[in-house]
Amino acid sequence: MTDPIQKNALTASIADGVLRLKGDFTVWTLHDLPAGADETSGIDLSEVYHLDTAGAWYLLGRESAGARIEGLSGGQAGFVDMVRNARPEPDPEAPALKSWRALLERTGRRVVEALGYARELAEYQGRFLAAVGRAIRHPRDFRFTSLVYHCQETGMRAVPIVALMSFLIGVVLAFQGSMQLQRFGAEIFVIDLIAVSVLRELGILLTAIIVAGRTASALTASIGSMKMNEEVDAMRTLGLDPDMVLILPRVLALIITLPILGLISNLFGLFGGALMSWIELGISPSMFKYRLLADISVDHVIVGLSKAPVFAMIIGVIGCHAGMKVGKDAESLGAQTSTAVVAAIFAVIVADALFSIFFAEIGL
C-alpha cells in the first residue's frame, strides 16, 4: 500500500512468549499483528515509534489479561495512562427478560402505544372543536386570510386531479359494467350502476383518499417544519394559540372544501360514465339524463356528501396531530409525514365502512 499514513509499517515477531513490535502501532496497523499474538505473556514496545489510542487500547486490553508491557518511552507511558483513565465504564446491563416475557412486554407496549395514539387523536379533535368554539365566541381571533389560503391550497389546487380521476373512474365503471350487463341484455341498467356507485361511494371515497395523500402530508410537513424550528413554541410564548393559528384554519378549510371536491368528483364521474355509455352502448346523453333523474333517488347524493365533512375532519386531525408530533430532527419529519398519510387513508376507509353499516341500518 502506498498510503502515506503508514509511514512505518508494523513488524511483529514472537520469541520466548514475548511479542516484539517494531514500527508504528496504530489503528492502521492493529490488524497486522501475527496469529498467536494474543497468547503471548509479554509485549516489548521499545522499537515502536508511534503509538495511538487504538494501540494503547490494545495494550490495556492485554495488560488486564495479565501480559507484561515493556519498553514504553516516557511519553508513551503517559499516553497509555491517559487512555487508561479515559476508558469507558460500561453501565450494568438490565437483566434480559425471558423470550416469552419479552414478547409479552413488547405486545403490551404496542397496545398501550396504539391506545395512546387513539387518545391523542381524540385530544386533537377536542382541541379543534374548542378552537371552533373560541372562534365563534371571539370572531376577532379567527384568521380569515389563513382560512382562504388553505381553502385554495387544499381545495382549488386539488380540483384538476380529482376531476380527472373521477372522470376515469366513471369511464371504467361504464366500460366494465356494460360488458357484464350486455350478457343479460340489461345494458340500460349501466346508468343505475354508475350513478349509485359514484354518487354513494366512489366519488367521495376516492376524493378523500386523494386529499388524504395530498393534504395530510402537506399538513404534517408544514406544521412539522415549524415544530422542528421551534416556531410553534415561539408562537406560544407570543400569546398565540397554535390551535387557533395552525389547526383551526387548516382543518376548517378541509371541512369546507372536501364536500365541494366530492360534488365535482360526482359530476365528472357521471360525465365520464355517460360518455362511455354513449360510445360503448349507444345510450344517448338525453336518455342517460332521463333515467338518472327518474330512477336514482337523491338520497344517494345525500348519503355520499354527508360523509365528506367527517372524512375531512379525520384527514385534518390526523395530519395536524402528526405535524405536532415531529421532533427536532428531519428524520422524524419524514417518518411522521408517511405515517400521517397511511393513517389518514386507513382511517378514511374504516370510516367509510362504518358509514355503510350505519346507512344500511337506518335504511337510507
Binding site: 499514513i5 489503528v27 490488524h31 489510542t53 469507558p88 460500561p90 427536532k328 428524520e331
Partner: protein
C-alpha cells in the same frame, strides 16, 4: 514549535462580486492551538471550509503537511483527509446513526479492523470526549447541544488525526460546559500532540487554550500572536475586541485563576 502543518498563501475567496478573503496568509504549527477570531461575516468559517477543501478558493494555495491540496486527487487526498478531523458547529452528526455508530463511520475505512474492535475503539473515543457510557446508544436528536459537540469531537478524533478543526466549539454552551470543553481540548492536544484550528468568539476559550490567535479583518489575517501580543495591537477593531468589557472580565478571571 517548528514545523508548519498548514500553510495558507495568497488565498482569495469570493462569492459573486463579494470578496471574502484577499491575499490571506496563515500558518498553523504542529502541536499548537490556534484561535481564529473576527467579526461576523469576516469569513472565519469560510476559511475553515477552504482549508478542509469544502470550498474552492478563487486563488492562492493551501498546503497541508507540505502538500498542495489543489494538486492532490483521489487516494492521496483521502489519505490527507484521514489525518485531520473536523468538528462542525452543531456536531453535524448523522441523525440516523447512534453516537457510537457515528464515531464508527471513519473507523470503517480501516481494512481488517474487526467489528468488535471498532465498537470498542468508538466507545473509547466517546469516553475520551467526555461523554457518559449511556450516550453511546443515543441518537443525535436525544442529545443536548453540548453533548452533540462532544460527540462531534469524538467522531473528529476517531482516527487519531494530527490536525483538528473546531468550528465554534464552545458557542451555545453554558460557562461550566464551555470550561470543561476548553480543558478537554488542551488535554487532548497534550496527549495526542494535536494541532488545533479553532474558530471561536469565546474570549474565555481564547484565554484558556489558545497558544496563538489570528485575527481576521479587512479580508486577510490582520495579525497573529499570543494573547499578550493581541492586547498591544492598536488596530481599532482588535483593540475593541480585546479591551471591551467582556474581554476585561475574561482577563481578570483568568488572572484570578492563576
Amino acid at each position: 514549535m517548528t514545523e508548519n502543518v498548514i500553510e495558507v498563501r495568497g488565498l482569495r475567496n469570493q462569492f459573486g462580486r463579494h470578496v471574502v478573503h484577499d491575499q490571506l496568509d496563515l500558518d498553523i504549527r504542529r502541536g499548537e492551538i490556534l484561535g481564529v477570531v473576527g467579526g461576523s461575516g469576516t469569513g472565519k468559517s469560510v476559511l475553515l471550509r477552504t482549508i478542509v477543501g469544502l470550498n474552492r478558493p478563487a486563488a492562492g494555495t493551501v498546503r497541508v503537511f507540505g502538500q498542495d491540496l489543489k494538486t492532490l486527487s483521489g487516494f492521496a487526498r483521502e489519505a490527507i483527509e484521514r489525518r485531520w478531523g473536523v468538528m462542525f458547529q452543531n456536531g453535524a452528526l448523522f441523525s440516523s446513526l447512534s453516537v457510537r455508530e457515528n464515531v464508527e463511520v471513519p473507523l470503517q475505512a480501516i481494512p481488517g479492523l474487526s467489528p468488535e474492535s471498532r465498537k470498542a475503539l468508538a466507545e473509547l473515543k466517546v469516553s475520551m470526549a467526555g461523554l457518559p457510557w449511556l450516550a453511546n446508544e443515543k441518537y443525535p436528536s436525544d442529545l443536548s447541544g453540548g453533548m452533540k459537540k462532544r460527540a462531534g469531537l469524538a467522531r473528529a478524533l476517531a482516527l487519531d488525526p494530527e490536525i483538528v478543526f473546531l468550528d465554534e466549539p464552545t458557542a451555545g454552551l453554558d460557562p461550566i460546559g464551555a470550561d470543561a470543553f476548553d480543558h478537554l481540548i488542551v488535554e487532548l492536544r497534550d496527549a495526542l500532540n494535536l494541532s488545533v484550528f479553532m474558530v471561536t468568539h469565546d474570549l474565555d476559550t481564547l484565554h484558556a487554550c489558545c497558544d496563538r490567535i489570528a485575527v481576521l479583518a479587512e479580508k486577510r489575517v490582520l495579525t497573529t500572536g499570543t494573547m499578550a501580543d493581541m492586547l498591544k495591537v492598536d488596530h481599532p477593531w482588535v483593540h475593541e475586541y480585546f479591551h471591551g468589557p467582556r474581554a476585561r472580565a475574561a482577563t481578570t478571571t483568568e488572572r484570578g485563576k492563576e
